[in-house]
Symmetry: C2
């Protein structure tokens, strides 16, 4: 039996991961998304298969977000995947940002197309010619659309499942208002929904902030984002973005309207998106050396029930108790599943479901049967607790809530421990070497950010600004920029990023 075969066998017995999260983070990540059955690598580089185990998470977030935006009277639509080059290139700054990554269709069947057609990297230029057509007067405003779709960015740097892939799924909202005030307000409303996705669903603390001029959306006025942090790699992750586009696209695409007084005006626009990247951030933050760790609120299976038969014991009674437990939980709306397979040992099953990150395991053995109880084992911290079957549902729900909260708390403790406040360049360099998320007073000048990038270049990638937090700590008069020594204008997070 060759080495390859051996490894295969090892994998099939579910004996855990080959890589440790702390020692080989990149390899650990690639392994855990595959072994946890979230992702399958695909034969085209940078494209990945989303298996039901990850799609289930995407669907939970989608149900939440879609209901919330419907409350905001945002309506779903679907614009084409394809965009002609003339339209794509209409907004100069915008296309400059995306041009190198655009995939082009040039042939159908065996025929060359007359004109190459681009695949959307995002849909501003796809949609806005029609905003121009549909918006005539103030009564047509606000126009608030969203679509759930795939987009393609043919990136060449380090493809990583969920985090950086050539095709990904997202929602993209595109709205137009009569006034800047309305647009500004929506930017923050949507940003709050993104915060809730991360904090309430994925149990990941994020910072709401504003991007620097260098890092903002190409062609937009300003960009807000929620920023997460991966302590293991010391990298920030842009979690989702809510852009105010200002009137720049309105100018290019002539999106004008007549107001109540018969005067001509230009609309104010926003666009905002979150993608399947969310799932990758969740894996990176919560996963451990045993595999995935799923927050209960997004897990397709929240509780797995495993029978633990023992020699002479009443095996059928145990199996029945397991089936009844699953039934009771399902009826109460808890996503439970029984693993009653007879060709795997309980130990194998424990490893298997730990790898998949199921938040709570329930074991039922002869003693549990006798005492009318079940044993609960938490995935997040391994703690065990026997609970009586009489108020199973209530206690399981409490446990799941606790797990959700514990995951968030633990992630927040780690994240907070990674934040370092610095005031000087030397402190900054030290903190960067220690993989920190750095909060520093900044003069907010583009030249200075370029200079920071230049001076931190290296194997690990340069540092850049992540965001200026919306909640600004006090900035004492006379505080100087950490990099330029000029008067500081704001606190800004810096670090390496994905």
């Amino acid at each position: 039996m060759g080495g390859g075969k051996k490894k295969e066998v090892k994998k099939e017995t579910g004996l855990g991961l080959s890589f440790k999260k702390d020692a080989n983070f990149g390899e650990w990540y690639s392994e855990v998304v595959v072994r946890g059955e979230m992702i399958e690598y695909y034969d085209i580089s940078g494209c990945y298969i989303l298996r039901p185990w990850s799609m289930g998470i995407w669907e939970v977030m989608q149900v939440f977000f879609d209901a919330e935006i419907k409350k905001m009277k945002i309506k779903n639509c679907y614009f084409p995947l394809f965009v002609s080059s003339s339209v794509l290139e209409k907004e100069k700054d915008h296309i400059e940002g995306f041009a190198p990554e655009v995939a082009w269709v040039t042939k159908s069947g065996k025929s060359d197309l007359e004109i190459p057609i681009a695949i959307r990297p995002t849909s501003e230029t796809v949609m806005y010619p029609y905003f121009s057509k549909w918006i005539r007067g103030h009564r047509d405003l606000p126009l608030k659309l969203n679509q759930w779709c795939n987009v393609v960015r043919w990136e060449f740097s380090n493809p990583t499942p969920f985090i950086r892939s050539r095709e990904f799924l997202w929602q993209e909202g595109h709205t137009a208002f009569a006034t800047k005030e309305e647009a500004d307000e929506e930017v923050l409303q949507v940003l709050e929904l993104y915060r809730r996705i991360y904090e309430e669903f994925l149990a990941i603390p994020v910072i709401k902030g504003k991007k620097s001029e260098m890092e903002k959306f190409a062609g937009g006025l300003y960009t807000t984002s929620v920023e997460a942090f991966i302590p293991n790699t010391g990298r920030g992750v842009q979690g989702a973005t809510s852009h105010c586009l200002g009137q720049n696209f309105a100018k290019m695409f002539e999106i004008n309207f007549e107001n109540e007084k018969g005067e001509k005006g230009m609309v104010w626009q926003n666009s905002w998106a979150y993608s399947t990247r969310t799932i990758g951030v969740m894996v990176m933050v919560h996963g451990d050396d045993k595999g995935l760790v799923l927050p209960p609120k997004v897990a397709s299976v929240q509780v797995v029930v495993v029978p633990v038969p023992f020699k002479t014991a009443d095996t059928q009674g145990i199996l029945d108790a397991c089936a009844a437990t699953v039934e009771t939980l399902l009826e109460a709306g808890v996503h439970a599943e029984g693993d009653l397979r007879d060709n795997y040992s309980p130990g194998w099953k424990y490893s298997h479901w730990e790898m998949k990150g199921v938040p709570l395991r329930i074991e039922i053995g002869p003693k549990d049967l006798e005492k009318n109880q079940v044993r609960c084992v938490r995935r997040d911290n391994g703690s065990k607790q026997d609970i009586t079957r009489d108020n199973l549902v209530e206690q399981v729900k409490v446990l799941l809530d606790n797990i959700q909260q514990s995951l968030f708390d633990a992630a927040k403790v780690k994240r907070d421990a990674s934040v370092q406040v610095v005031k000087t360049w030397d402190e900054f360099k030290d903190a960067l070497a220690q993989k920190k998320m750095i909060l520093a007073p900044w003069c907010d000048e583009e030249e200075v950010e370029k200079d920071v990038k230049e001076r931190t270049r290296g194997e690990m990638g340069a540092a850049k600004s992540l965001c200026s937090p919306l909640e600004q700590p006090e900035l004492p008069e006379g505080t100087k920029c950490f990099a330029s020594g000029k008067p500081a204008k704001k606190w800004t997070y810096w670090g390496r990023s994905y």
Copy 2:
């Protein structure tokens, strides 16, 4: 003011359609999907924008179908948009069917790709290499996946919104079983869901049937479908298809498993899909010269409430009554919307919402206010009925149910009137000239179908078999094939089709 401007103004006043359904069906259809705000034409031919008015219908069907397949333990996943040519071309018959319509990506940014990459026209060849990887033993079966996605078929014949577009939205289910019996059973289970989408949601009668060898899915074993009919054009429409693929793909992609006894076997596979074409069929069947007619079960707005103020009457009282009516209906789960705009007359609003096909209009004028009643006007038949506000909800619900049923009944009467039973070639030719959906005894030979196609060629397009209904009428011994005179084996529907 030029002619173009004039037409524009006419459109904006909502004075109805320029084309009649019976006189100029094609033009009527193109106009009604745009004026009804379902579709916007796009600057790439064969691609269309789905506006919220049509996406809302898609979403209602999606919620229903997704819940039903989840009950069948089918799980959602997402496979890439792209497929490499080597994989795409693995199954010969299959690729022959799709090759001329495949769109190819050959460039990213300014660089040529090493190898051109295809955009999925459907995902059999995208998915099945991974079925082969994931399926090892009988415990891995059945494997039942579905995805909601876009697909691209670069067709050159007559693009038509919803019905034939270069990109469309669909769901595609892909399942693998240990036995043919299980696969056969699922084919029909899914076909029944498709029937329910058409008959229960879209109020369109369909025929469940089996496709001929010529018309079946390329590379599959047999294809079942639900077939609708458009009386105005005398064309059948394949509404949705549920294919048994047999073991042909399993062979090509080596999808094998070990059964309970340790013997090797090949899986049996199905694939099935319905698309945004459904919406086009709905428009064609129910629409009229005033615009769209939406079945209540799929309408984003089921009831529109219009105030009808009159000179000295209590206008504020009327507006309040309208708002209260909308509120009451919304609370009861009826999708109601008030049109309280003060810059349009009631008459303009009636035309506007008739164009959009809202099933029920409620008018409230001074007399209604006085009598504590509202006036209901049905979109489908124009009938009027005053109902007291005291049991508004109950009566509106009854009305909506009646409209749903009436639409189906009316469509069925028309469809049934279009069906003609023929036994000879002469009868067949006459019936075809009269744009009938023809039910004829057939010998079930491919050569004969080819011959029928050949002999009916012409401007309108050739006739082909639509399906052999699963519910077969009695076929008396000695019945001859309408086309070949050979002994008939089954009853089959024939006609021109989309």
